[in-house]
């Protein structure tokens, strides 16, 4: 059975788009690394590039794919993509992935670069705000040296599989000493951590290949629960639920991505427990990102003269009342469109985040 070496240039971490960066900027080293590795077991070479990328002068056939998945360093997943299916990894004792009668093995540009230049150089992507910058660092260098993290509210080391640490703690960590990560994402004071977790969980849900129940359904559940934390539907018991379930997913999931995709959320919950509690219990967000203050409309019972102008203005006919009676807005029907406020000549329709005491039953004006 012939061998096929696929250079998978679809980076497996949305927060660390290293593969194409290294391929384009250090092409010679990568090609050399790939040659060296391919010679070891006489394999044909094939490059798998993201759809819109153009790179010439590569020593092998080029194939394009619009798939991006954390599983694309697994031979079976690559074989599936090459034959037009969704990537699904196979972690099976002595299992050989086959693609047009050739045994598939996979290498990434990072690994190929390491084959030629040795493994003490490490590329790291630094994301802060919208900007992503890729730096070449050496193993053992501390995070603080390559990124200004000291004043950060939180730092995510490693993308969807990474963990949250505080700024000062991050700056002391040495690269690739105890743990390896290829991206540093910086969050500062005005970033809401809960909202950050919502984005991370949405990305994890999209990236999940859908093969294993714990990761596929786990990401879907976490995405919904964390989003509910920002809409006031979640309960405090959800925090323990997520902790308990993540622990089991980390043990039981099928592939490394599945096992670690829960870490960003669980570490964020530990570090920023009170921020989560504020979102769930008080249903408010001090960064103003979630719970955009819902302005509630009400009619001031002392000023209403019962003229009925507002009733006709309301498209949802959420206002009740007769001539000479104090009018009442039904909060269930009110869509906060504000038309009634404009229609009231007396100016007695007001807004507030919390409703004052209002009459329940029909009461005559002035009798309140």
């Amino acid at each position: 059975m012939e061998n096929l070496l696929v250079v998978s240039c679809v980076s497996d971490d949305v927060k660390a788009p290293l593969s194409m960066y290294i391929l384009r900027n250090y092409k010679a080293d990568v090609i050399a690394g790939v040659e060296k590795y391919a010679k070891e077991f006489g394999a044909e070479i094939l490059y798998l590039l993201p759809e819109q990328e153009e790179v010439d002068g590569l020593n092998g056939e080029i194939r394009y794919t619009k798939m991006s998945s954390p599983t694309l360093n697994n031979p079976y997943a690559v074989a599936q993509v090459l034959s037009g299916n969704l990537p699904r990894p196979m972690i099976q004792d002595d299992y050989v992935a086959i693609y047009d009668e050739k045994a598939v093995s996979v290498i990434t540009p990072e690994a190929a670069y390491g084959m030629t230049k040795g493994f003490d150089e490490k590329f790291v992507a630094i994301n802060s705000g919208e900007k992503t910058e890729i730096k070449k660092t050496t193993v053992g260098q501390s995070v603080g040296e390559i990124a200004s993290v000291d004043s950060a509210k939180a730092v995510l080391l490693g993308g969807l599989k990474g963990r949250f640490v505080t700024g000062p703690e991050a700056s002391k960590i040495k690269i690739d000493e105890t743990e390896n990560f290829s991206s540093i994402t910086i969050y500062n004071e005005e970033d809401c951590i809960v909202d950050a977790c919502v984005q991370l969980m949405n990305a994890a849900y999209e990236n999940s290949c859908g093969k294993c129940v714990l990761c596929r359904e786990g990401t879907s559940q976490f995405k919904q629960i964390v989003t509910e934390m920002t809409t006031g539907k979640a309960k405090m018991s959800d925090v323990d639920l997520i902790k308990e379930v993540s622990e089991l997913i980390t043990i039981g999931a099928y592939c490394p991505f599945g096992q670690h995709m829960t870490r960003p959320l669980t570490t964020a919950m530990e570090l920023f427990a009170e921020e989560f509690e504020e979102h769930i219990k008080k249903k408010s967000c001090k960064c103003g990102k979630c719970y955009k203050q819902a302005e509630l409309y009400y009619i001031d019972p002392d000023e209403c003269i019962g003229c009925g102008e507002c009733i006709d203005a309301c498209p949802e006919d959420a206002i009740e009342g007769k001539d000479g009676f104090i009018h009442i807005i039904d909060q269930d029907l009110c869509e906060q469109c504000g038309k009634c406020l404009a229609a009231c000549e007396e100016g007695c329709i007001k807004t507030a985040t919390k409703l004052p005491k209002l009459p329940k039953k029909k009461t005559k004006c002035g009798k309140w």
Partner: protein, 707 residues
Amino acid sequence: MGKVNLIIDGKAILADESKTVLEAALDNGIYIPHLCHHDDLHPNGGCRLCVVKQDGVDGVITSCSTKVKEGMVITTKDETAEKVRKLSVDLMFKTHPSECVGCPKYGKCQLASISQYVGDSGRDLRQQKLPLIENEENPLMLHEMYRCILCGRCVRACSELRGVGALKFEKVDGRMKVVINGKSLEEAGCQFCGACVEVCPTGSIRDKVGVFKDDPGLSREMTLVPCSEGCPAHINVPKYIRFIKEGNYPAAAATVREKAPFPESLGYICVHSCELQCKRNHLDGPLSIRNLKRFAASQDDGSWKSKAFMKEATGKKVAVIGAGPAGLTAGYYLKKLGHEVTIFEKLPQAGGQMRYGIPSYRLPREVLDREIAEIESIGVEIKCNQDVKSAAELKSQGYDAVFVSVGTHAGNRLPLEGNDLPGVYLNADFLRAINLGQPREVGENVVVLGGGNVAIDCAESALRLGAKHVTMTCLEAPDKMTASEEEVTWAKEDGIVVENSRTFDAIESENGKVTGLTVTGIEGLKFGPKGPEFTRIPDSTVTFKADTIIFAVGQHPDITEEFGLELNRGRILTNDGHKTSVEGIYAAGDAVTGTRSVIAAIAEAREAVSEIDKFLGGDGNIEENLAPEQFANPCIGKNEELTKLHRNEPAVTEADSRKCNFEPMDLGFDCSKAGCEASRCLQCDLRVQISPQKFWSDFLAEEGGQQ
């Protein structure tokens, strides 16, 4: 292959190294829950139910994806592994309908069974149900994908087992789904083999109601191969059609011979109830199985004879009364079982209805003679012109057992006034006369009463004897006639007029000569316990001109009480095991059941023979493997042609040149047409190869319950 020692749940196990931990456990009756794993598919590892604890490895290992290694110590009931299983079942039920009530798969569903074994934990996770939409596009299978738990068994079965790949995974607005691989079913290339239905654990893909019989009394194989089940003799139809497709015609003929000694005759005149059951009825049209059988039988080179069993003489003597299909079959097998057989036949030649009922244009005589000669060639003695008056008396002449198969050679005469006038004939007598060479003469206008195959034989024969206008009239509506469809079409092509839904009032006659038949239209026909019930349509009485009238409304055995057997409304009374009222005398075929079919008579004769053999001290086993082993390749591959090939019709001599003589008219298939028709087969027997789904109670049962 090296052997490996390991311990699972404290039990020492020896397994060869190619096995995974899950296989090793299951082989030794230790149950580990598994859902996405299926014995015939490559391991998947997605459902996480088969996780177990291995000493020295933290966390859990996936037992379906980890090979056994020397010295492994596995604990399946480990606390963490159980928790992971519970979470996985829990998560699966969040997207699956929570109410099992009313689900057609209940009682056969893997998810329910495993959720009972593992027990879900009722966590506060969110319900994420799918909208309740069914997809009816596939004519044979119903897709209710809101029950799907994405285990991927169907996708793997379709691509790996069958090499078709009509199903695939796709993210539909962010959510993983199993969808048809292409814009339409044709493009996806579905071969309707049912493998996906067989492996689906939750009933998301199911056979549509009515495709298969839902009868608990049927075995799995009989349920899934409707044509073999439909055939009274249960001939292995898919096997011989596959031999024809491979061009191995003798093997095909041998397969038919395993269950019926008249393959070529059946090829001409069998009622082919197998075609009514063929799954392809739900697509474009059933396989033309009868014609395939005929073609194969015509290419028979007798290679099967070397494999036929022949037991040495048992010294027992058996008499058979009646050399029709039942009698000849019984004689043939009794001889093979080593008994000495003598068949007594009242008429000048053997064949029964095949010779004296069915006209020669339907069944050429040299085919019949050749197949009867085959039976005589193994030493079955047939004595013709022997009118046996009493079975009991015959038995006393030194026979250890008697088999009665006298058939139904007497026509039923309806109690119409004038029913014994000279121009009025009975179906049995009329056809027998032709086949004895002295046909009765027929007038210009002939009216045949009755709507079955025998009625058509009478009408067509009358035409061939020179009748100008032939009319058939019967109680049944067009779609309810018992005659086979193609025979009715051929009759109409030959100019025979068929008057449906009529009841017969009287035979008109002038001074002793038949002139016509008066009938009245009817509707709402029902066959109640006391015979047909219907309502007469007012003023729809009419008279058909007729010089000759032929009764073809059924036949009964030509025997009376003195024959020595208890009768029930003219037919021989038998209880289970084909035993008649007299010990040692057995009976089968039309004489017991009333006119049915040649294949039914053969099937019953075989049952009776094994009863007789047991009665005579034998083991009653007449099964034999005449055909070579066949490798039915499960990987059928993509074949766009399959749905485009429509049913092939046999070559038939056109109406004018066939209706004036008794020459064979149905010329059957040539080898290219046979090959093309055979390739239309959906190969339903491939699905029986797939190992049936097992449930945890099956394993535990082996351990504790069901020995």
